[in-house]
Amino acid sequence: MAGQVITVTSGKGGVGKTTFSANVSAALAELGKKTVAVDTDVGLRNLDIVMGLENRIVFDLVDVVEGRCRLQKAVIRDKRLDTLHLIPAAQTRDKSAISPDAMEKICAELRHMFDYTIIDSPAGIERGFQNAIIGADEIIIITTPHVSAIRDADRVIGLLEAADKQKIRLVINRLEPELVRRGDMLDIPDMLDILAIDPLGIIPDDATIVTSSNRGELVSLTATSRAGQAYKNIARRITGEEVPFMSLESPRTLIQWLAALLKRNK
């Protein structure tokens, strides 16, 4: 069976595309799927450092496009998990170095080589984004519960629909259940109502993301954190498995309980 090419994009920068791409690729690899994560953020590469593979780069995506090496040579295999691979971006060039046509050819090749190709898109809607989406069988939109991120996600969804990309699903990242409970953060039904696409997963804000990326480790492989569990669940849903959504209620502290009581009795 031919592999799937899935592009992770958002419009807004800093919402968690790279962290998501790295962790979900690892989770898929751990399920036994031969997976490659591809960094298309030419000039601002980050997937390598988030995955802890920054010292293993010999060739990159631009080398492949410009014919200095075959595609296979640019693929880095993770020594910790041999079903996990990375194709890094170039750091000393910019996004004009790759064309959508070239990217489409590369995706066609990757479909034969891997069960899953996860393409980490750069922020924005310009050339880098166009390169990232052209070969995609499926798109994952990452957003956070903030007005700016949601507005950008909506714009990107519009562009994707215009480009005839049918399979688009939403991941809500960095949810803070406590703020949602207080009425100070958009909740999941609100965001799904506004953006009107199917949800793929919800990832709570989690400090283990910071510590693990400091170490070049991935929470979906190492830590028993809620974010790690969310990434694992998402990987399983990508393979077609039905996985119920985690409950993200946080237990109330005494003060919150007292305050809620006072509010009710006002």
Partner: protein, 101 residues
């Protein structure tokens, strides 16, 4: 003492918080209606000026009386124009020096 201040602060925060999310939702709905329909603020303003010109040919209205906006209350995808009508002022007849006798 510091501990008590901290607890009180948390308490205050919990009671005070809690209404910004609905506001965000409403603002987003309006903003997205503009974005999705390609309505830049300039387009709406041009539309409004033309409406003022048109209305002024038939009614006694000035620019301030005409409003064009996304109406988020009656549904997300409506552009609503409202024209305030100005009936002529009624004047009470000045009855100078009349006495009822």
């Amino acid at each position: 003492m510091k501990f008590i201040t901290k607890i009180l602060g948390q308490f205050q925060q919990q009671i005070a918080a809690g209404d910004s999310a609905p506001l965000a939702k409403e603002r987003l709905k309006v903003a997205l209606t503009y974005d999705r329909n390609g309505l830049e603020q300039g387009t709406v303003e041009n539309l409004r000026s033309e409406l003022v010109r048109l209305m002024a040919q038939h009614l006694d209205v000035s620019a301030d009386d005409v409003h064009v906006d996304i109406d988020s209350t009656t549904g997300p995808n409506k552009l609503v124009a409202s024209i305030a009508l100005r009936p002529p002022r009624r004047q009470r007849a000045a009855v100078a020096g009349s006495k009822l006798s």
